[in-house]
Point group: C2
Chain length 289, copies 2
């Protein structure tokens, strides 16, 4: 798991992405510890900035994190007609919170993260991400997202699940039972958006997750964004809506590019939103036909 | 350059993508040689199939090559109202030829590849790509694309430049002078599409190439496709059109999904075509504003 060798960190995960590995040249290892839940490393890389690694898997690098954080936030927020109350599950680096609070209709953001050590280390080493926690709209709870959901019903407009991969502490967040809990926690017309892997790696798992979501949500879709430091250079999102008339590629809230710029968004735009749902033909067939 | 260590091949290129590296687990090294132009390796990988490597840089793997080959071919072909005569520069693995000949309007395909050893080795080790050379529509010339272009004017509807990266034999294919030559080789309304790197790595170089293209072409755009075995997990295309009314995201020739399937296309579709031109906000600003 601690694969730093000859000055390079290599991300090896034989179960999730066998036979391939992305490596980053390391300037300095800043912090290493085993929390109650996972191994945490903070590494300064030569060309990708600060990097947070959990159980040997890259969670974010400062160079490209904005792609993931903006898209996992603004895809669901802009699909909802009035996203006032938002729940974030996971996201201990603060990046999703940082983006969600930008949205002009968002009034309250509740976040539940299982590992307080990730939050504390992000505040220390990733301040440009952890600044999300300082926003007065945000209330952070340390705890289990699955358990949190059981105690909240009919409360939220949007639920964003920014989890690690389906090995380790996040595995329950990909299961049908989690989508059932999320449905109950949402108000009418609510929308969920969850980290959803790569169609190059495990399209069967994505389909299974979408089918589980579809048992509780009227409409389900998959979208992707480019993130070079994630396996296969991108990551997808499973998005469910309780609105049976939802058209995912058409944002309900369209921003002009001038608004995009004044919100300090660098990746997301209404045009990018639409394109994120256009999937390669073989993926489209597998997931939707 | 020959970076096979502990059973893994690592793609290291300190000039083009410093501080990052993609690695593939190797089953067997099938062939290695230095041709007149470059070092050629054919490697069988554990999870990506056969892999062609030139000067230490992955050119294609059987697992994901169809994304690149289909998009570099069908993006320009479907933008042209009547792409009868096509030129391919480079493409010695045969993959682009394989795709181009599928297009129902294409009658003649001329290809010029500098390194006959790449062609021969592809026929031997990558038959599912080199099959492109067997099509009766195709005429292959071994030679320099830049020189070839000087001897052909007003001939082609579409020119596809499937080159290696701008270090080594392909460097001249990214220069403005090459776009000037291509313009002269095209008929009225002609379209060019060239391999164009990654916006995560060298957006300045992409802009420079597009500006060079724009000196000779009425309209220029950039599009991307997902390819996990390329640096940053994707690759872009610089596309120029002599038609001043060209709208790149709208294919002139739209295929229904049933036609896409009967053409045995696995990546490209008319919807994917449109989405390929939607660029992250910061990229859109840098390249177009």
């Amino acid at each position: 798991m601690d694969l730093i060798s000859n000055g390079w960190f290599s991300e090896v995960q034989n179960e999730l992405w066998p036979g391939q590995s992305f490596s980053l040249k390391v300037k300095k290892v800043l912090h290493k510890e085993d929390s109650k839940f996972q191994n945490i490393q903070i590494v300064e890389t030569e060309n990708y900035g600060m990097c947070l690694i959990l159980d040997g898997i890259i969670q974010c690098t400062l160079r490209d994190e904005f792609s993931y954080q903006e898209m996992i936030s603004f895809l669901p927020l802009c699909l909802h007609p009035n996203p006032k109350k938002v729940l974030i599950v996971g996201g201990g680096d603060g990046g999703v919170a940082r983006e969600v609070v930008k949205h002009p209709q968002v009034e309250e953001v509740h976040q539940v993260e299982i590992d307080d050590r990730v939050v504390e280390l992000s505040k220390q080493y990733l301040p440009s991400m952890a600044c999300g926690f300082e926003n007065p709209k945000l209330k952070l709870t340390i705890g289990d997202g699955f358990e949190y959901m059981k105690n909240h019903s009919n409360e939220f407009d949007v639920i964003i699940t920014d989890s690690s991969d389906p090995v380790g502490p996040a595995v329950s967040l990909f299961q049908e039972s989690y989508y059932e809990l999320m449905k109950n926690a949402l108000k009418d017309g609510g929308i969920v958006c969850s980290q959803g892997g790569s169609f190059w790696l495990d399209i069967a798992h994505i389909k299974k997750t979408m089918d589980g979501c579809g048992q509780h949500f009227a409409k389900v879709a998959y979208a992707v964004t480019s993130v070079p430091s994630y396996p296969c250079g991108h990551i997808g999102f499973v998005i469910g809506s309780l609105n049976k008339n939802q058209v995912f590629k058409t944002p309900t809230k369209k921003f002009e590019n001038s608004e995009i710029d004044s919100l300090n968004l660098k990746y997301y735009s209404s045009e990018v939103h639409a394109s994120a749902f256009a999937l390669p033909r073989w993926v489209e067939k597998h997931l939707y036909e």
